[in-house]
Amino acid sequence: MGATSTTFSRSALHLDAAREVERIAEAIRATVFGTMKRKGAVLGVSGGIDSSVCAALCARALGPERVTGLLMPEADSAPETTDFGALAARSLGIRTVFEDITPILEAAGCYMRRDAAIREVVPDYTPACKSKIVLPNMLDGDSYRLFSVVVQYPDGTHARARLTSDAYLGILAATNFKQRVRKMMEYHYADRLQAAVVGTPNRLEYDQGFFVKLGDGAADLKPIAHLYKTQIYQLAEYLGVPDAIRQRPPTTDTYSLSQSQEEFYFSVPFDTLDLCLFGLNHAVAASEVAPTVALTTEQVERIYRDIAAKRKVAEYLHSPPMLVEEMRTRGNVEHAGA
């Protein structure tokens, strides 16, 4: 698919799964055993499609006996999360470790800080309520898409309130503990096992900054960060990821009320966004992408603008620590040239 193509279609995202799996497996082997000299891989297995595919790729590349999957639920995790994670691990024959991270999160004040932030906009919110934060659909018009919190009271009734910047940042900063604690646990096992930590972002997440800096954004290797979500489903099928996992809708598993990734961040279905991202990356005109995704040209242009805006915000998330000057970190500096 090139810049001048006039035949844009869903097939743009089709890949040769067998070949791609071999290419990634080779890269994992070269990185883990060669460059990093680590004895295996550690990753969090959430029971979602991305971590299941990464676990399968690692098992294929390194051997299942060298892969450790961490099941790390917390108080707000959906009960089935651990079951799906265990199912993925079992199907591969990799070792799993169960770590309930709720006590660490409680000690860090994760839930207490989040609840206090929610109460800024929903004063009668109590810890007995469930909650999630949502975005309006970006296709609905040119209006700014600002986060709201949805609260479900113990009697089943709901309230919805637009977030102030303080409340939004408070909720975000508190819930980010979850991803950071999980990463801390992954590196704990990586240290114990002399293993590399595998990050599981897909291309949309990596490109658009849908990760927590030094949380799920941290890893030693990210073997599917170059793949569109649609392509990851193709690999999942080829790798034999259990049907039950392939048929689950993507969730963030971060909030106590069930929340799809679309509600939280992307606002349009991932397969639509995949095609728009591909179109933007390959300079395909919005008018060409529009019929394929059953949207108007104006709506695709809006998605293009949203992708570009998120990329700007993601720059900070991707940036390594700033150093005042370049420093040599390889070889023996003191004796160089002596």
Binding site: D142, S143, Y144, R145, L146, F147, R162, L163, T164, S165, D166, Y168, L169, A309, K312, V313
Partner: protein
């Protein structure tokens, strides 16, 4: 009307980090110039609601109302006039 300088001062202090050498025209688009992201829009709304005692409704969350110093000033003027 001091709206334009007040709003300008808020934008410069909060998003351009002081006067420095930034040149912000009153018609510059906040989003197109990358001055304000979606979290910034929340901050801007919080400032307007507090400073001018207005309530920005969901239906009013439009670039036409909020995407430049002049647009924000006109929007606030309309709200205060209502």
């Amino acid at each position: 009307m001091v709206l334009v300088p007040e709003i300008r001062e808020f934008i410069v202090a909060n998003f351009l980090f002081g006067p420095a050498d930034h040149t912000l025209e009153d018609d510059d688009s906040f989003l197109a110039s990358g001055i304000i992201d979606s979290t910034g829009v929340l901050e801007l709304i919080g400032f307007l609601e507090k400073q001018y005692g207005i309530t920005v409704e969901n239906a009013e969350l439009l670039p036409d109302n909020l995407d430049s110093v002049n647009k924000v000033a006109s929007f606030v003027r309309r709200k205060l006039g209502n």
